[in-house]
Each structure stands twice: as structure tokens, then as C-alpha cells.
């Protein structure tokens, strides 16, 4: 059902679950809980269509170099959230991504891949992904891996009609959560600014914050300030350990033969390290992306090669004239170390509703050069061992320049800030995605990632959302057994 105004709801109405945010995480949680028979109020701050006024709420200052896309561009404040503009690239995290890869880099999850695997098939069905083919080894250190491509699914389109028809899931657009009332270690109400400007109180047995990889931190930081620290009693990690997937061009490949793997439908071959390589070389996870290069690149590369290795350059040029040599573009995205100083903070500038904006601090470090450098070395070694190619690195990879600001820089993958850990000093939510110290507040989305792997995050976000919905359904059922009448919407709002 579409709720035209929260003011039209009965004051005593209490939902089983209030879900905040209608992107891939929030829409999936609402869908799964509605299917399980629970009453859900799904609050979306934006409207059905994109607007500059709504996007302006997402403006904030960025501190770092090179810069990411502005926060009002890289995410969408609209029904369906950032699924309104995503690319559809999907792959599950690797098993090793859930473990600590390197001593001193705190990236372990409190769950394992096996804990998410039960929701892989359904998540793939939601995202309309075909089955993932098995990886294929490429030498001892690399694997050819496949990405799946969602059409891409827009969650407003996928679930819009279902929510409008549903008598269990109520969707309220233009409903901006601006705070929470906390009592006795539980959230009693969400404070919601209705589209008419009035503040409404929403009561629910569980609250699930799925507002995005920046907004989740912002709303909890603001709510914690308003509540005097009662919303997030253990705030040490709140806003911190924020991550992106750095995306940069590493250089070019001069290939004297056919590449051993076919380019996929996006014109890409993906290569990733084996778990043994990650441990032995003390790197984080990466995905090398090999694409056909622009015309003329091979000739330019051969000319450059002839300057440093004339004999090899001459030999390659002879084969080039027989059309046996091509140029390839080598790009990569990789896993960034989770660091407490990469973080969301509340700005001293306010949005149009008087809520502090989010400021983002994001810095690359030398470790962010080491991982792609080793990745390029591994591929170069394999190509040389097979006698089929050489790699020329761009200057920044060799440490001759800083990270180039004119590259893609990031994938618009906003992760961390409310990371998952069993230790409240190192995480905001526990393994069930429940905020430490609060009995009924949960967080969905990539903000709970303790580390990032190299895979684009949406598939993992949907898996986590399905797992969270399953957990909530079970816990609500236990409440029903314990309290009986609480399943009826009878609790009066304060």
C-alpha cells in the first residue's frame, strides 16, 4: 500500500518492522518480511522521481586526494535508491575476503562466506543473474574469474507494484528519518519529517536502517548526538573504517598471441589472485580488468619497447606487421585496507531540514599502491613465462607519481562506517547486523562490511538483506511466542 501521508496513519499503529531506505538492501528486507507475513513500513526520503532538491540533501564536503565523485552524484535519494543508476556488475565475495588477510589490517568478518551462501541463489534470482561459472587457473598465482551482469535491476521497478498492492508492506515516500527516540536500550520511535514538513513518530518492534553506505553513518551519528549517546552506546567505530574500491588504469599489455581467455559481454577479462598468493605476497584482494586497447596503442607500445629492448622490439614489430600482436588496456580495482581515519563525520553545514550534512574523509596510502603493483607483476610474470606478452606500467604504479586524479578513482562503492564485529570497540553492529547495545535497531547495506574484497558490493548487499530478514522473522516469531498480544498493533505511541 502506498501511504500518502504518515499523518493519515492511526496514532496507535505499530508495525512489526520499520525499514528506512528503499534501495537494494531496504527493498529486499521489506519484500522478504512482507512475504513472511509481517507488517512493514518502508520509509523512503525521496520521491518516485529524481529531483535536484532531493539530491541536494546528499551534498557534503570531501577531504582526500584524488577526489571521489561528489556524494550528491554517486548516490540517489529516490525510491529504489542507488539502484536507479548502478551498473549491474555482480560477484560474490571470496571465502578469504571474510578472513584477516594480513596481520595488522583488521578486515575479518564475524561471519564466513558459508553464512551467506544459503542466500546466494535467491539474491541471484532477484538481481536476474545467471549462475557463475567456475574459476579457471592462470598459472600458479592468478585465476580467471567471471562477473555476472544484472540488467541492471531497478528495485523501485522490481518491487514498486508489489508494495503498492501489498496489505503488509506500506511504502511512504517523501519521509525523511531525522532521529530516533530511545528508551531502555531500545528504539521506541523513528522521528520522520513528512513531505508536508510535519514531524511524525513511527512506532515499530524492529527498526532497520538501510539508507546507504554514507547515510547510515550520518543518521546514526546525528541520532547519537541528539540522544546523548543512547542510540549507539558503543560509538568507537561509528563512521569509521569507510572504504571504496580504488579503480585505476595500471598500464598496457603488448600481446604477441591470442589472450588465453575470451572477453565477456562487457569486453572484459577479469583476473584475481589465489588465496595462497594473497597470503604469500601480503597483499589484499584485487580484480585485474583486461580490455581491448584503442587503435594505435600497439604501435605506440612497440615504439616504446624498442627504446628499452631493441631486439625484442624488432621481433615484436615483425609479428605486428603480420597482425599477430595487439595492445590491451590493463585496469584494476582492489581492496582498500579498512582504516579508522577514513570516515564519515557530521558537517557544521546543515541540509534544508536542519540536519548536519555528511563530510567524507578518504585517503589512499602506500598499501593501495602495493596491491595493484604486485597484481601487475604477477600478470607480467605469467605472460613472460608463456612468452606471449609484456606489460608497461603507468608511472603512478611504479611510485613515480601520485594516484591520478583524472582516472575513475572509485567505483561508487560506499562501504564501512557501521562495520560488523563482535567487538563493539571495532564495530557498530554484531553478526546479526544489530547495533551493539540496542535491542531492536539493525543496519542493512554495505556500511556493515568490515572489509571489501574486490567484488562489486550489490550481490553481497542483497544476500545480507535476505539473511537479515530471515533473522528478523525468527526473532519476531520468538517475540510472538513470548508476548503473544504484542503481535497485534495495539501499542500506543508516546
Amino acid at each position: 500500500m502506498l501511504v500518502e501521508s504518515l499523518g493519515a496513519l492511526p496514532r496507535e499503529r505499530r508495525y512489526d518492522v520499520c525499514v528506512i531506505g528503499s534501495g537494494p538492501a531496504g527493498a529486499t528486507v521489506a519484500h522478504a518480511l512482507g512475504r513472511a507475513g509481517h507488517s512493514v513500513l518502508l520509509l523512503e526520503a525521496g520521491e518516485e522521481t529524481w529531483s535536484e532538491a532531493s539530491q541536494a540533501v546528499y551534498e557534503g564536503d570531501f577531504y582526500g586526494d584524488p577526489p571521489l565523485l561528489p556524494m550528491s552524484v554517486s548516490r540517489v535519494r529516490q525510491f529504489g535508491g542507488s539502484s536507479n543508476h548502478w551498473g549491474g556488475w555482480c560477484r560474490p565475495l571470496e571465502s578469504i575476503d571474510f578472513e584477516n588477510k594480513i596481520d595488522g589490517i583488521d578486515g575479518a568478518w564475524p561471519i564466513r562466506r558459508a553464512d551467506l551462501d544459503p542466500w546466494l541463489d535467491e539474491a541471484c534470482a532477484i538481481l536476474e543473474l545467471p549462475p557463475f561459472p567456475p574459476d579457471v587457473g592462470f598459472g600458479d598465482s592468478l585465476r580467471h574469474v567471471a562477473f555476472g551482469y544484472s540488467p541492471p535491476v531497478n528495485f523501485a521497478i522490481r518491487y514498486g507494484d508489489e508494495f503498492r498492492r501489498s496489505d503488509r508492506v506500506h511504502l511512504a515516500l517523501g519521509s525523511y528519518v531525522t532521529g530516533f527516540d530511545v528508551d531502555g536500550g531500545r528504539v521506541v520511535h523513528a522521528r520522520v519529517r513528512d513531505r508536508d514538513g510535519a514531524e511524525r513518530l513511527v512506532a515499530a518492534r524492529r527498526f532497520v536502517l538501510c539508507a546507504g553506505g554514507i547515510e547510515n553513518s550520518r543518521l546514526l551519528l546525528w541520532g547519537n548526538r541528539q540522544s546523548g549517546g543512547r542510540l549507539v552506546p558503543e560509538p568507537a567505530a561509528l563512521g569509521r573504517y569507510w572504504m571504496e574500491h580504488p579503480h585505476f588504469t595500471l598500464g598496457h599489455i603488448l600481446l604477441e598471441d591470442d589472450f588465453p581467455f575470451a572477453f565477456d559481454e562487457k569486453g572484459t577479462v577479469f583476473l584475481a589472485p589465489t588465496p595462497e598468493t594473497i597470503r604469500e605476497r601480503r597483499i589484499l584482494d584485487f580484480g585485474l580488468r583486461v580490455h581491448p586497447a584503442k587503435e594505435g596503442v600497439a604501435r605506440e607500445l612497440i615504439t616504446a619497447l624498442a627504446c628499452v629492448a631493441p631486439g625484442l622490439g624488432e621481433k615484436v614489430f615483425r609479428r605486428f606487421r603480420k597482425r599477430l600482436v595487439c595492445g590491451l588496456l590493463l585496469r584494476a580495482s582492489w581492496e582498500q585496507p579498512p582504516r579508522p581515519y577514513n570516515r564519515i563525520v557530521l558537517s557544521d553545514r546543515m541540509d534544508a531540514f536542519g540536519i548536519p550534512r555528511a563530510d567524507l574523509h578518504w585517503y589512499l596510502e602506500e598499501f593501495d599502491r602495493r596491491t595493484p603493483q604486485v597484481a601487475a607483476e604477477l600478470l607480467a610474470g605469467e605472460l613472460a613465462a608463456r612468452g606471449i606478452g609484456r606489460i608497461r606500467l603507468d608511472p603512478w604504479v611504479s611510485g613515480l607519481e601520485g594516484f591520478p586524479a583524472d582516472d575513475e578513482v572509485g567505483g561508487n562503492h560506499h562501504m564501512g562506517g557501521t562495520r560488523m564485529s563482535e567487538d563493539p570497540r571495532r564495530g557498530v553492529v554484531d553478526a546479526d547486523c544489530r547495533v551493539h547495545g540496542i535491542g531492536n535497531l539493525y543496519v542493512g547495506g554495505s556500511s556493515v562490511f568490515p572489509s571489501a574484497g574486490f567484488a562489486n558490493p550489490t550481490l553481497t548487499i542483497v544476500q545480507l538483506a535476505l539473511r537479515l530478514a530471515d533473522h528478523l522473522a525468527r526473532s519476531l516469531a520468538r517475540d510472538g511466542e513470548l508476548h503473544g498480544t504484542l503481535q497485534v498493533d495495539t501499542l500506543a505511541s508516546a
Binding site: 577531504y63 582526500g64 586526494d65 584524488p66 595488522g104 589490517i105 551519528l221 547519537n224 549517546g229 549507539v232 558503543e234 560509538p235 568507537a236 561509528l238 563512521g239 569509521r240 598500464g251 616504446a304 627504446c307 628499452v308 629492448a309 631493441p310 631486439g311 625484442l312 585496507p337 582504516r339 579508522p340 581515519y341 563525520v345 557530521l346 558537517s347 557544521d348 563530510d359 574523509h361 585517503y363 589512499l364 596510502e365 602506500e366 598499501f367 599502491r369 602495493r370 603493483q373 604486485v374 601487475a376 607483476e377 607480467a380 610474470g381 613472460a384 609484456r390 606489460i391 608497461r392 606500467l393 603507468d394 608511472p395 604504479v397 611504479s398 611510485g399 613515480l400 607519481e401 601520485g402
Partner: protein, 70 residues
């Protein structure tokens, strides 16, 4: 432990001072050595160029060459 905010005046005044402020706001136990290293520059260029070791490969002017390449 509380979540102390970094004063925004400092943020806008000087990025280097900002990183110092963040370091002060964080518990020392939560701030690894890499954070202090990162404070030396937001987009670091290493003082000593860490050109790829390349394993069995040689690095020359951006190229990763095999031992027999000449």
C-alpha cells in the same frame, strides 16, 4: 570511548593539521602506523621509488621485462 568530532575549522584550514586532529580523536590503539604514514601526504609519492621488484622480471622505464629481453 566517545566519538569526538574533528573541529571543522581545522579541517578547512589545513589538511595536514586535519590528519593530526583525526589522530588525536582516535584511540592510539585504533590508529595503525599506516595512518601516521598517510598523514605525510593525502596522495603520497614515496620518497624512494618502490619500482616493482618484478620477481624474475626486470623493471625498466615502466616495462616489466623478462631476463632474456634485450
Amino acid at each position: 570511548m566517545t566519538d569526538r568530532e574533528v573541529p571543522l575549522d581545522e579541517v578547512r584550514a589545513d589538511r595536514r593539521r586535519l590528519l593530526g586532529a583525526i589522530a588525536l580523536a582516535a584511540s592510539p590503539a585504533m590508529l595503525p602506523a599506516a595512518a601516521r604514514a598517510a598523514g605525510e601526504g593525502a596522495n603520497p609519492v614515496p620518497a624512494a621509488h618502490p619500482v616493482p621488484s618484478g620477481g624474475a622480471l626486470r623493471y625498466r622505464d615502466g616495462w616489466l621485462l623478462a631476463p632474456g629481453d634485450h
